[in-house]
Subunit: 289 residues, 2 copies
């Protein structure tokens, strides 16, 4: 099997050109985003839509978030990921599967319309999670391309997936907002280092494999700059699976919780992982049966 | 001896009202800052002056910084402080004493004019340091009031000192700029926890004592907000010794190096430390002989 996006196999990092479209259907077939916005997404690899969801929606979801957070505090299960160095919850996975409220959020018709437009097909949810970035102690999340991991560790064949990050709190410049490198989705950074067995057990807390090298990041940032889209709760950030992104720590009192939903095209179902290792569990990477 | 600003002695944190002026000479006696700017400083506890120093100055200082950094890499001496968790240099202390170039910077006449205006007397340098916040790996610096430490560990009696941070690189929103809580200089946060012996040996790398509690920080931030003044290299930030400040991590490729110079009034010379412990070494806290 020819691997279009080899990673973690060479001695040196490599910058490889993207071989897939970004926007799979350029003909507007929904009413939520315009042709200009679609073009912006294609060029930059992301689109930020301020106050896409109403305050009422946000309030409802925050209540559910609080409930889920409290409920998960004492629970030891693989879907609940804790901060490196302490036991605070960092993420809860598979909320679209295990929680009725977030299941509804993920199947929002307006959102689905945009996603199907960009990916040019029907989609399914590859992964979902809530990320809690606590006030005062929220830790940084280093630069990465999601696709690199999904390809190597989950066997996602092509770049035909995207993430939607839904802000449940106001994102401002100082509380560790998500930063993106515009245009970086057009380059695949082939990373150095073999994947260990069951890497996901530690990588969800702190990533050590599939980490892009500093020189590649410098080059991408020099070309595209760094942008941190900020806005009120209810804003959403749509971004391509190969867009380089990360975030700094958060010592402000303001927490920053986001729901991430990853949509994958039904024409891009997972193969065996390209690492040659066993697949990660379903709560991280949905393998349609 | 009556302690006006007791800290690290109570079981609970306390918010105490400032008992000292902020601006000691309200009558303008220099030409660098206006009455309005002086009033801004008094109310907010800081003043940001964009491009105070020219690009030529900055270039000259950056060359010296690079030289000093290279020279200090292999040097084990107390003035060179390294990052927690690795051996990268975080700070170099006493640069106004040990380095001719930074000695000249610290005695800049325009700067001295402003400092003497605010502190209402002649001043001397209590402390100086270069802070390196590396690109990619620069760590966060948690909230603190400098005065809390200088009072408890160095015996600085009153709030009659200020810091000047001189940016040697552009500070932007994403490379971990210094954040301040405007107005927080009017409240002294009495912290919990006794000071261990020779605390400075670890506290310069990661502070564990004299750390303000979350409730106090929330209250101060609710009142004053959080501001991260940003600007080109050569900009300076003047801030009161009791202003609450800190910074997030820096995963961007852009390093952020600043020179800090702390001026203290000659009428505010150090006593014995209020902790009852021995004084810290001179390179951290100048004890005029």
């Amino acid at each position: 099997m020819q691997d279009s996006y080899p990673s973690r196999i060479y001695q040196e990092p490599k910058l490889l050109e993207r071989q897939d479209p970004v926007v799979y259907n350029p003909t507007i077939n929904q009413t939520e985003i315009s042709k200009e916005q679609l073009t912006f997404y294609e060029e930059n690899g992301y689109l930020f839509l301020k106050s896409f969801f109403t305050e009422e929606h946000v309030q409802f979801w925050k209540q559910e978030l609080t409930r889920l957070w409290e409920q998960s505090k004492e629970v030891q299960k693989p879907e609940v990921i804790r901060e490196p160095g302490n036991d605070e919850i960092r993420s809860i996975f598979a909320v679209h599967r295990d929680d009725e409220v977030f299941k509804q959020m993920a199947s929002d018709q307006r959102l689905q319309g945009i996603v199907n437009q960009i990916l040019g097909s029907q989609t399914y949810i590859h992964q979902s999670r809530i990320n809690f970035k606590q006030g005062f102690t929220g830790k940084e999340f280093y630069w990465h391309s999601d696709f690199e991991t999904w390809h190597v560790e989950d066997g996602m064949p092509r770049m035909r997936a995207l993430s939607c990050s839904i802000a449940l709190e106001d994102n401002h410049a100082n509380n560790g907002p998500l930063m993106v490198i515009p245009g970086s989705h057009r380059t695949f950074v082939s990373c150095v280092g073999e994947t260990p067995d069951e890497n996901y057990k530690s990588s969800l807390r702190r990533q050590e494999y599939g980490v892009p090298d500093q020189e590649s990041l410098k080059q991408l940032a020099k070309q595209g700059g760094i942008v941190a889209p900020t806005g009120k709760a209810g804003s959403i950030l749509l971004f391509d699976c190969n867009l380089m992104h990360g975030s700094n720590s958060n010592i402000t009192p303001d927490p920053r919780s986001n729901v991430f939903i990853v949509y994958n095209s039904v024409l891009n179902k997972l193969n065996a992982p390209y690492s040659g290792k066993g697949p990660r569990p379903n709560f991280i990477a949905e393998r349609l049966s």
